[in-house]
Amino acid sequence: MNVKLRGKRIFQQTITGAMLFILLGIFTDRIVWAGPVEGNPRRGGTLILGMTADPSTLNCGIESSQIVAMVTSSIYNGLIHLDEESNPHPDLAQSWEISADGLLYTFQLRENVKWHDGQPLTSADVKFSFENLVGKYNARGREAYRSIKAIETAGPLTVKISLKKAYSPFLEVLTAHDGCIMPRHLYEGTDVLKNPHNDVNPVGSGPFKFKEWKKGSHITLVRNENYFKKGRPFLDSVVYRIIPNAATRAIAFETGEINAIFASNSFPYQHVDRLKKLRNATIKDIGSPSLIGLNFNLKGNPIVAKREVRVAIAHAIDKKFIVEKGLRAVGKVIDSVIPPGIPWAYNANVPKYPVDLKKANGLLDEAGYPKNAAGMRFQLRLAFEAGNDNSERPVQILREQLKAAGIDIKLERFERSVMLEKIFQKYDFDLWFGPLTTRGHPALGTARLYTTTSITGQPFTNFTRYSNPKVDQLFEQAVTATKKQDMVKAYYEVQDILMRDLPTIPVADRLQLNIIKDQFRGALTSTETYERTDEIWWVKGAPVKDGDFERD
């Protein structure tokens, strides 16, 4: 082709290329802008969360369910708050001291903290809350509150709590979830259950004030302009939308009608694959550890009372399959009763039981349970909770896996109330499979499962009736230890023993997922399931100058 034509073509291509380049630049700029934003937080915006149901109340002193905490953590404060590794940071308490023997905790409260109605928050509120509200009714922190001997208000901003004996995870309980401070002047002398401030106009000290609650529809909170942290919260308001159906909730997130879903059973796990593909959102595992495993009735069934049988069962279980298929890969395989989700206490060197059907069968033969003509050795009942996502599919898998070892499993599905009575109170079961929260500290979640004093017949206590004086001693040591390394040492040893004795075969730790649109930053993870709404900010808000807000 001749030169002129060629030149024309090159020119056209260059122009096209340049235009494309410019266009690309424009779009990339937008993409980049929507990407990581450096610099200060911005002020403004509304965070809309999707929840599965209305909270039963907004009184966090009485109710400690996750749904309640999701909302009340924005309205109220605790003395401290926890980070991803369960380390405490100041909230209402500006500083604190723990005596060397671990028996006296002294808290200095922040100055000039006001309730939403203008009254000042003082140590009297703290004392009242611990004695009459959260300290009396809270289930998760029961052990901690029971260890309190006395609370003294040495001055309007000083609280001294003395314990009967040292309890190392004491601080961890004092969050907005399990230790929320409520206004004495509104609750003293009233019937706490019927107090109108429970749902009509809660008055807290937190970053957001209650505006309205339309049951079945939404709860609206607006910025507390007099919040004790300067310049915070960044958001104008937080709205909690109630969307009971998981599919609808997932769709609402996709279409942007809601821009966050935090755990507490609100995350639509069945739709996680679709949600993972979204480009403008991030899914995080907030790391609230749990122990999903197979538990044995050690005193109630002579077959599983034998250790060899339990070991054989451990070798027959393919945990990876259970997690991938039964839990839809929303979980990790674990091999210790203290999950890796509590990294400082987790002992990776415990005895392990890899999948080995041959070994399993061999052990059962040796234990004196030969296979009959149908290939079965004995029958065991496997109980689980009806409708529990963590149990329904996995038990179907377990039945098949144990069948391969010659164990005939009879599944028994119980509705929750019945299960609590039958399994935990009457010990009428052979095997039980299900999730148990471990919380962020083994003293809170694990001790109640394996200490002799926890065999009380109450729900979620030591229902395997495992009793080992050495383990009791180690848990006691850990709780009263004043140095962290002593605590760790005790827990390491406990795990070693428990994984040899196998009252529980740990299978998985379920991920607790939070999802939030990328437009919202600052959602820190913490071992609590709610996010701290005084940290979150919206990228399209008004810029904030350096000195105008309090850094964490």
Binding site: S56, T57, K136, R140, N245, T248, S417, M419, F460
Partner: protein, 365 residues
Amino acid sequence: MLVFNLLLHNSSTPVLQSLRDDQAQRSPRDFLGSLLENTSPVSPTNFILRRLFHAVPLLVCVIVFNFTLIHLAPGDPIQALVGEFPAPEAYVAEMRRAFGLDQPLYVQLLLYLKNVLTGDLGFSFYYRQPVASVILDRVPATLQLMVPALIFSAIVGVLLGILAARKPYSISDNAISAFSLFGYCVPAFWLGQMLMVIFSIELGWLPSQGIKTVGADLDGWSSFFDRITHLLLPFAALAIRHLAVNARMMRSSMLEVAFEDFVMVARAKGLAEKDVTARHMVPNALMPVVTIIGVDVSFLFTGSVLVETVFGWPGIGRLMYESIVKRDYPVLMGNFLITTALVVAVNLIVDLVYLWLDPRVKYKK
């Protein structure tokens, strides 16, 4: 073709006959179950009053029965409220006091009955609201689904039945009969799933879940339209079955009535076929069908639980299931009560319609 015909039709269904006997027992004159030969017509007001009078012991029995059943069942509802940690004694005591659970059973029952009379259905364990408001929040959603379904399936079903009976074994008859056969053999919730698959997932014409689009604050016509699109599929799933039943019954009934003496007399009198149908055949044929509609209402509630589950519809059917699973006794009892009352009310209306239709009563006037 003969086989095909035989496949679709039947001279009369077994239920039809039992219904005739049934209706004879339930007719207003037969109120003590004895067969009275000489009857005087009963005025509607008397009739209503008598039925209402009967409804009261019914509702009381329902309450007592449910109460006993629920409280005999194993498990403690208070503990079920708490999460995975044993509830502190103070908490349990407080809850029990607040819900009156610390009293002996018969006292609780009497208190409940007394409260029901004043419209107080108790306090929900789970929602911490008065039961009446929990239920009333959800009743409209269920009614929005059921009332159109009931009316539509009644009217269209009857019309289809008349149409089919006009020319037995014709193409239109075959079509209608095939449809109704399909309609009442298919489980309503599966029908719902299939409709959802076709219209929502594959074609994308209609939304699949919920009562309205979340977050979109629509009003006026857009809101109405939004609601209708959400209503369509669950409505169809519920209505088709009852439509099919009604059509089938009506057809059979019409065919039977066609050979009754009074029809022949009417024809002999020289009345046009249209008039014979409308004034003589239909009212008589309608009678057992009307009974069916009444009986069906309680089955509509059955369907509602399942269909509401499939479509995520926030109605009392789903509430019933949830309150059973959550052991929310007050809501359970209240729900049962209200549902039964609704069924009684609809049956009353049905009986009134029957009264109106009964030619024996008519001619006496």
